[in-house]
Amino acid sequence: MIADFIRILRAADVRVSPAEAIDAMAVIDAIGVQDRGLLKHALSHSLAKTEAEKFAFDECFESYFVPPREQPPQAEQPSDEHDEAESEAVSEAADEDTQAGDDDSLDQQGLPAGGGEGATSDGPPPSLTQMIETNDQAALQAAMAEAASAAGVQEARLFTQQGMFSRRIIEAMGLDDLDASIRQARDGGDDARAEKLKQGRAQLFDDIHDFVERQIAMRTKNAGRLLREEALSRIRLSNLDRSDMNIMRNLIRKLAKRLASRHSRRRRKAQRGMLDVRQTLRRNLSFDGALFNLAWRRTKVERPKLIVLCDVSGSVAAVSRFFLMFLYSLDEVMPRTRSFVFSNRAGEISDMMRDGDVDQVMEQALRAYGGGSTDYGQSMQDLAEAVLDKVDHRTTLMILGDARSNFGDPGHKVLKEFHERARRVIWLNPEPEATWNGGDSEMKRLGAYCTQVQVCNSIRHVERVLDDLLRQSV
């Protein structure tokens, strides 16, 4: 049962390792299962290890270990219409109930999936009819849980399966038997009993429906989101829906974090260095060969100096936006990035990006530099005036644009200068390769002065480009 609960936690984005699962068992050994509150705290200490996970854990715990439903009052007071045997059965059941509560308060504390043992192990399991007649909620729940696991409800993933699983469960619980009893009662003229059974049957259907729904909801809570994220990372950025912006933002943050942590580790390793034997010997010749002054071999760490030029005119704006968002999430490993945006003129937005919200910055940038038709020649010229003298052999220039110059000057002469001075010039084009050289696209002419030309129109692409950049530069 704990294993099943852990599966559900995992579905809810709480990372639980096998070792932690073992811990959880040790915790249960130490604390017992009687006290629901205590159990919750204890499991939370050993399974959920961040604030967000604690929150998810609480939710899962509440919906998995449901407190038992209060018994409807009418069951407690058998009315006079019922024959003696039945009222006896009820009081017996009530006895059994309290007994079960004492023996194994597991049931009472509401562990539906495991509640079966205590209640049913006393004798042969009562039939569904009996359970409904005596309104034995504990036994019903137990039987339901048992039937559910037999029907494989753990495997349910889709809401469309709900009906099927409900049906399977109720059949496993003995629907045929119940129907037969109802018929029998009606044929026998015992309308009250038939009516009661029918009511019970309807109630049971409802319960099972709820149960299955809850199970599926628990197990699939995050599956949908994961699927969505996966899809979003591949989708064309220009086709992105506004409603997905938030998921997108989180996704970018997540990917950037992964990238940053991967590359910051590599950097540290490169810095450590080993003893440089040759240089040490040479340096210490003057001390008569006593190794006095040690020299360390150093792997030179190249910090990527990045200059980014992004087109913010209509067609490319969406891609630029996410590219910049991604880029500045990587501030930790690429602290010396300068970024420019252009449409008809180019302008620097590095400082704005560092302290502002991306959306605001994009708006401001669009107001300042957007508008008019794209002018590559003028924009390249602007860029060259601003940074050309700072470009050296460690600089990478990245240009994001569709290379459509509206039949004007594509600025290839300026780009040539950049190409000669910079370490790399990478052109990222959001259009698919097939359309690169049609119409007013100057990709061919500009591409000649680039180290690399790449398609870039999804988050996947952006991630790959930046990953390559970081890898090459260490």
């Binding site: 990372r15 390792s17 070792a19 932690e20 811990d23 040790a26 915790v27 050994d29 130490a30 604390i31 017992g32 299962v33 009687q34 006290d35 509150g37 205590l38 705290h41 204890a42 939370s44 200490h45 050993s46 959920a48 290890k49 961040t50 604030e51 604690k54 194994d104 308060s105 580790r265």
Partner: protein
């Protein structure tokens, strides 16, 4: 099953009341974590915003169990030499000097090279013996005879490497020293790790620990804490202080006031002999509660409103 459950419940209640007598007001969640840490002999990773009493929890535990507390403050660049052990180089050097003079005496009577080598070898072992070993907090904790409370404070400030180095200690309570072999704890220390979450702690470390998150306390608990720490306050003023601080926490601040700040503020109020909170006084002492200029600027205009609202609540 029932037995275990009952005794666990009793033990947890005992912990809670025991700590309360020592002036640490815990709740069920904290007490459960402490109970588990003791029973399962697992380290306890305590996270939460600064000033909610993470370090205090370890101190209170040491008092509660009557054990010594060894504290290791983490910082960037902390390494084994400072955390675990170090050879006393100076002392070793001194001994070498002494030995040099005695070398002639020592070698007297040694006829073969082998024999003199053997004699020298005996000395080498002496040099790397416990005599020259300088224990640092972690080794001290492992070698303590009747167990200690080991507090590794602000683990998030240390480097990844140090975190990895801690793993052996935390899972097996033992440590390998190349020159001496493996040292195993005589009695496993009760380990507390605290973190302010300035960076994410590695999964490997988290996995080995029980995890306790202490959030800002709710009003009744903060009230109880204040009662334990600043007993001079009367009930009404105390409630008003707590309500005010709780309300300030709701505002959008860079650093909301923590429990430690509430206590400081309450002490200041006692010291200045104030009987009621009035707006001018609060404005003048806001710097005790808030640690950023921008936060103070944000709260100042709100003081009168919050005071009015909380006063009526406290009067009820």
């Amino acid at each position: 099953m029932n037995e275990i459950g009952k005794s666990a419940r009793d033990a947890i209640d005992a912990i809670q009341s025991g700590y309360e007598q020592l002036g640490y007001v815990s709740d069920e969640q904290i007490a459960t974590a402490l109970f588990l840490a003791q029973t399962l002999e697992k380290p306890l990773l305590v996270e939460g915003p600064p000033g909610v009493g993470k370090t205090e929890l370890a101190k209170a535990t040491a008092r509660f169990l009557g054990l010594d507390m060894i504290r290791l403050q983490c910082y960037e660049g902390l390494d084994e030499a400072k955390a675990l052990y170090e050879w006393q180089y100076g002392k070793q050097l001194l001994y070498t000097q002494v030995l040099k003079e005695k070398l002639g005496d020592l070698m007297q009577g040694a006829n073969t090279l082998d024999e003199s080598m053997g004699r020298l070898n005996d000395f080498e072992d002496v040099f790397f013996s416990e005599q020259f070993l300088q224990s640092r907090p972690l080794l001290q904790a492992l070698r303590a005879d009747d167990g200690v409370v080991l507090l590794i404070d602000e683990i998030d400030k240390s480097d990844d490497e140090f975190e990895a180095f801690l793993l052996e200690i935390l899972s097996d309570y033992q440590i390998s020293i190349p020159e001496l072999g493996t040292i195993k704890a005589k009695k496993p220390p009760l380990v507390f790790l605290t973190s302010n979450n300035t960076r994410e702690i590695g999964d490997a470390l988290k996995r080995r620990c029980l995890h306790l998150y202490i959030a800002f306390p709710d009003a009744p608990r903060e009230n109880a804490i204040l009662q334990a720490r600043v007993p001079e306050l009367d009930y009404k003023l105390r409630t008003h202080i707590v309500d005010f601080v709780q309300a300030v926490r709701q505002l959008d601040l860079k650093k909301p006031p923590a429990v430690s700040e509430t206590i400081d503020w309450a002490r200041a109020i006692v010291l200045l002999n104030m009987q009621v909170l009035d707006a001018d006084f609060v404005r003048n002492t806001l710097n005790v509660l808030l640690k950023f200029k921008s936060d103070i600027d944000n709260v100042e205009p709100e003081v009168t409103r919050i005071l009015r609202e909380t006063e009526s609540a406290a009067a009820r």
